[in-house]
């Protein structure tokens, strides 16, 4: 990326057209991301729609740590707030605020990953990892069967794992953007990278917003 004055790529008429092209490119990319997670949601829905899987799914879900799940949601929402403020700062040309907010967003992302690691370790200890630490006999009571419990746990690991991979990429990008912002690569006339990677970050947050009810909150009803 050349210095912020000469940010215009040769084949664009003006920065406005270039900015709109980048934003449209990211939105179209987010549509494909929506369908990657969508395929997982479809598989999840296909199994839960069948009567004899929901009991095992709900029982397995009740074993997950709802506390960390809820706290993680708040952490990710805060990181979305700082990201939105960062985009606003970039548009207004406040370079210092932009750098700080980008670093904050990356920090909250890392906090989320930290909680996630703790939760995964705890799941390992609670013998919730099929194939690694899982005792099928423990799950054989009433309509709950070990098969569907393992299915639910595989959905849990693949969904949260894919989300974590996207988040790690997001954190890396936030750090690079912070470095570039520090070097003054962005200006009120050219801040598209911050804008589009902000969209990406918010999308990853929205995915988590849907993961919370589908994975953590199905086993809790009737507890109160």
């Amino acid at each position: 990326m050349s210095a912020n004055t000469g940010a215009l790529w040769e084949h664009y008429e003006n920065l406005e057209q270039q900015h709109e092209a980048n934003v449209l490119g990211m939105w179209v990319f987010l549509a494909t991301e929506l369908l990657i997670f969508g395929a997982l949601f479809t598989g999840y829905a296909a199994y839960r729609a069948q009567g004899d899987y929901s009991a095992s799914f709900e029982h397995a879900s009740s074993k997950l740590n709802l506390g960390i799940g809820a706290v993680n949601t708040v952490v990710l929402l805060t990181s979305s707030l700082t990201m939105a403020l960062a985009v606003r700062a970039a548009r207004l040309g406040r370079r210092r605020a932009l750098v700080v907010l980008l670093l904050l967003t990356a920090l909250f992302g890392t906090v989320f990953m930290g909680f996630k690691a703790v939760e995964y370790y705890e799941d390992y200890e609670k013998k919730l990892v099929p194939g690694l630490a899982f005792d099928p006999e423990e799950w054989r009571h009433g309509p709950v069967k070990p098969g569907p419990v393992q299915l639910f746990l595989m959905f849990y690991y693949v969904m949260t794992g894919l989300h974590a991979v996207h988040l790690t990429l997001g954190i890396a990008i936030m750090l690079t953007l912070a470095v570039m912002a520090g070097r003054g690569s962005f200006s009120p006339r050219w801040y598209a990278p911050v804008d589009i990677w902000g969209l990406y970050w918010h999308f990853v947050d929205v995915v988590w917003i849907f993961l919370l009810p589908l994975l953590y909150l199905i086993g809790t009803h009737g507890k109160f």
């Binding site: 009567g51 004899d52 009991a55 054989r140 009571h141 009433g142 309509p143 709950v144 069967k145």
Partner: protein, 333 residues
Amino acid sequence: MFPVPLFPENASTTADHVDRLYFFLLALSGYVALMIALLLIYFSVRYRRRADGPRPPRIEGALRLEIVWSVVPLLIFLGIFAWGAHGYFVLTQPPDDAIEIYVVGKQWMWKVQHPGGQREINELHVPVNQPVKLILTSEDVVHSFFVPAFRNKVDVLPNRYVSTWFHATKPGRYHIFCSQYCGTNHSGMVGEVVVMEQADYDEWLGGHSEGSLALEGRKLFLKLQCVTCHSADSRARAPVLEDLYGRDVPLRDGRTVRANEDYIRESILDPPAKVVAGFEPIMPTYKGQVNEDEMIQLIEFIKNLRAGQTPTRTEETPPPAVGAPAPKKETPR
């Protein structure tokens, strides 16, 4: 016969239906493809580029023509859809009086079990002019039971019973192919359907019977101590299994389920999954103690269990000799 067969044998009722639709489609497609080809050739020759040729006019299109050649194909297609769907419906509804034969697909062989207890590998002996219902499952990967002469195919899935049926019309030997790729010897997983006259069929049955499937199931029912709970009197701790097959069973969690092969199999391998209303989930799992073939015997036994036939626990006298093909229903001979 012409050395190279160009058309498969027609050996079942559904084959006529499929062949008629196939010939109609062949005629329709042939006509359309020929017309397009002739038009292309004619236009290319008639309007070939000549130095002094007329200049091509500026034709944007013709709305009416476009509508005609959109709507007309659509209507034809809907007609074909209805015709195909009718054939499919017929195929998926086996008549009630069909002989039920169990087929288990296993990596690279077909194991067949007749209700009379006869067992076959890669062979299926069936009587002519008699509907036959196949109940199939797989022990490992997805296979597909395909008999070209009957125009019949069904994918055989592990852990689940699928069924299909045919009504053979011509005695003879017809290919069985596995048409879903299943590994190294996928091409070798073939067999033969032997359609025989009724007399030959009965004679074949007689020669191979080692006690009917239901009888084997009954012995297993006793050997596995099922009778200790599933006895005939009502105060027992387990539901009575007489006349169970085909009934809607109310479950403990409020759902009602049709008692078909899948339900019986699941209740044997995973009893607490669907507990009958009014009973406790105390039955232990028999996973690992009952293989696919024994499972079929138990299912056949429960399907043929009529009122009063539940064996008593103290079985001293040999069981009443149950006729070789346990007459499920009085099929007219």
